[in-house]
Symmetry: C2
């Protein structure tokens, strides 16, 4: 793990890192924000700072949300670290969309483990984001005997659009072992099997056999996971989002949880006049930050 840059930001530091990933067999970039509490002289030795992982949407790198979502002030307010992973493997040797479009291939890994050639060798983003990266960050930041950061136990997950899908998917797949303590999403794709962005991605990465898609589709997953506590999944979406009707369809998740243990535990807030941009995301980051801070026991 190499520190590419370390910058003061708000009361803490934004750290740009890169590392060779075992999962993707490529060099991966990731940004981490360490809040002011991490640098406080009087931070208690027996406490660890929890993490909120933010998965970005189509075309994004770790920088988009780091620059535009404005989590840093909230991280300082509540005392959590932020992790901003990349959205796919990248590089000349990594297969890309044959049509060169922006909704598949590099920048659009969809946080799944591809089974189909030519994508399978590098597009192992599920394992990368949910397994390898937390361990690698743990080893890097806590490897010197000063275990102040918690990347593997007290962790919340959130994301935007494709990343909102990735967050809900990872949360549900890890629900039984409480891998993530909290989950929220901004304008997520909730039912990829039934919308064009998801069908293109799942078809390319997972193949034409649609039963294989169920393993990642939130609307399928949530029916097979028993809800066991009081927490809920918090979702915001703008009613001026140009992708709302065709690709996002949050109502499909609400339909999927009807008469299940998740009924009343998925909250979709449709907000007026907001589109799909970071003007939308950043506006509601404070509400999501408070939500995760509560679920992580910080307030």
């Amino acid at each position: 793990m190499k520190v590419v840059k370390e910058l003061s930001a708000c009361g803490g530091k934004l750290i740009k890192l890169s590392h060779d990933s075992i999962s993707t067999k490529t060099r991966m970039n990731v940004n981490v924000y360490l809040p002011k509490q991490y640098y406080a002289q009087d931070f208690p030795r027996d406490r660890r700072i929890p993490t909120v992982v933010y998965l970005s949407g189509l075309t994004c790198t770790p920088d988009n949300a780091s620059e535009k979502a404005f989590w840093q002030f909230q991280a300082d307010k509540y005392g959590f670290a932020m992790v901003f992973p990349d959205t796919s493997p990248r590089g000349d040797k990594v297969a890309n969309d044959p049509e060169g479009s922006w909704d598949f291939g590099q920048g659009a890994g969809f946080y799944v483990n591809a089974t189909q050639d030519p994508y399978a060798p590098h597009y192992q983003m599920y394992d990368y984001v949910h397994k390898e990266l937390p361990q690698t960050l743990d080893a890097h930041f806590n490897g010197n005997g000063v275990a102040k950061l918690d990347f593997q136990d007290d962790v919340a997950i959130t994301g935007h659009s494709m990343g909102g899908f990735g967050a809900i998917c990872g949360y549900l797949k890890g629900y039984a072992e409480r891998k993530y303590k909290s989950c929220s999403a901004f304008a997520p794709i909730v039912n990829p099997s039934n919308v064009p962005w998801g069908q293109k991605a799942f078809g390319g990465y997972l193949g034409d056999e649609r039963t294989q898609w169920q393993a990642y589709d939130p609307c399928a997953l949530i029916k097979n996971v028993k809800h066991v506590n009081d927490d809920k999944i918090l979702i915001h979406v703008g009613d001026a989002d140009p992708f709302l009707e065709e690709h996002l369809k949050p109502e499909l998740l609400l339909e999927a949880v009807k008469a299940t243990s998740w009924e009343d535990h998925v909250q979709v807030k449709k907000v007026h006049g907001f589109d799909h941009s970071y003007y939308f995301v950043s506006t509601f980051v404070p509400e999501h930050a408070e939500f995760h801070a509560k679920n992580l026991g910080l307030i």
Copy 2:
């Protein structure tokens, strides 16, 4: 004036506008943020919402600061509008840097009225930003008899890098008539006549006769303007800013005001570990917002 897009953002709206400028003889883009107070049903009829103008740095469009500086939450907090102008005229017919570099020409108008060909026909950014744009915004937003926004009287100015220079320059040149009620800057170029970025820009736009440069150089201007009240110019700069030693040199402004009426009225805060990016700007926007809100009588 054409509304290109109107988006919900924080509690108000971000409005992307474009218009044909008389000064630059080009189509110009500008973003305006109207805070939640503007949309409040109970906003008093006899009050007007003051404005903070933010001038951006080299290479920027109106979108950079709109997306990354995060003024919107502060505008809602105190009740001011934001104006984000472009940094130069643009288009095929607009002369550009012959070397194609990013620190001169399109995206780098330096907020002066060019006197030299081929730049003089379009590069009239001083008149555009400080005269035409406020009048045009006033006519657009207040032309229907509902004068809720103040673009010409209760106005503060700030900016980043080249835009920090532009803000201080405009503030000082309009000081006698109190054109701007408040001025601050993030990592400004304070003495363009004596640093490479400024010398290239002033040489190109204003010609080789250096006496002409004095009309825009803050370190020259400030000696000829008598300070008459208690306000000060607030400046932040990061000590990890890669342009600090060569292009910014804030200490030259402090030297220039020694033994003048401005002594003790220019405050330069050097902050540790911050660079030249929007991670730096956004961190100190809340302090600048409070500073301007006080000077505008909002708190």
